[in-house]
Subunit: 211 residues, 2 copies
Amino acid sequence: MKTAITVAIVEDKEPIRQSLAILVDGAEGFSCQATFETAEAALDYLPTHCVDVVLMDIDLPGMNGIDCVRHLKALCPHMQFMMCTMYDEDETVFDALKAGANSYILKRSPPHKLLEAITELHEGGAPMSSTIARKIASSFYVSPAAPNELDILTTREREILDRLSKGHSHKEVANELFVSPTTVRKHIFNIYQKLQVHSKIEAVNKYLGRK
Amino acid sequence: MKTAITVAIVEDKEPIRQSLAILVDGAEGFSCQATFETAEAALDYLPTHCVDVVLMDIDLPGMNGIDCVRHLKALCPHMQFMMCTMYDEDETVFDALKAGANSYILKRSPPHKLLEAITELHEGGAPMSSTIARKIASSFYVSPAAPNELDILTTREREILDRLSKGHSHKEVANELFVSPTTVRKHIFNIYQKLQVHSKIEAVNKYLGRK
DNA sequence: CCGACAATACCGCATTTGTATGATTTTGAA
DNA sequence: TTCAAAATCATACAAATGCGGTATTGTCGG
């Protein structure tokens, strides 16, 4: 039998904390090592007492769960943090991820889902409740309602601009695209003509839509 | 019984396309409406023939799957796109999300996981393979160890970087700041050292907070 | 079939830029 | 006030870049 996944719980509400602890401890392959009512208590104990996964409520008295994760993640980068909360507001979700949360699960998730998520988290995944995952994925989407100055560029030209924008030199782009450096230079020259610019930075600025 | 989830598949490799179609069509509650070998074929058909979910390979001959999603998502915002591919490289993943992909699954996922994912996607989730999810979640994390790389720059250095970011050359910046071009170059060189970069574009990207 | 255009490639030149070394003056905080 | 950092300037060289011209090939629409 494999070693159980060790878990800590940070949750101020007594009944929820208790039932989470019982759920985790009662399940095969999981072991609840500690529970805390406050962020401060967790910050005090956890840095010196390693666990695999921390279930973190957000709405805590005193320091909130997000700031708690920020501090703990800095001290124990290997520890996995699962936000476990009622809210699914945008700001909260993204703030949590920025702070170092690895997972974000809504409390209304059924118990077996929670255990599944803990396992997935421990195995290197980043389990998210579906509405949360959708929010995150959507945050990357850039509407194609962009200015069409770039439409006059050919596919190849856009490809080259894209690489230039990542800071690659002529030569590097040439190697990446398996063409000669002179070809790349020619393309770049054509791009400058079309965009009416005279340097890489100006071209990249137009390409990325910065003004 | 509920209406089946309608699915389209875009995949150039015959055996994979076939087995995906059979898997989807054979399962209760799913219906494979169409399959395409190329992005172009999908772009031609799908805008006028609604489906719920599109399974999209990335590595296609001609137009790639990401650009295909970009076009289709603009035409059919309600359609859900699941990237279904071998690769889990950073750039590919994020480009796909920017293009409008709602889900990203590695081909090595077991069949039942794929069907689960389609259902979850259709119900408003954003199913991701675990390594992908981790990448995405991590991309938000801002390490407190390096709060802001730009903090180590002096006022003058920031001033110069700001003008560089507008596309000005060394000489232009020198004139604007009433100093000699060599001074500007010295500053720029110092900036490169501090930011650990070797070109204007890379420096500007860091300055403007791109990756 | 033809013409337009994209992509490829080369040559050459002037300028800009990246890197290095060294030095002087200003400024700000200890 | 004293010291360190910041800002200034110079010289030099190699590499990258911007700009001009020319040419071949392939594709696509008319």
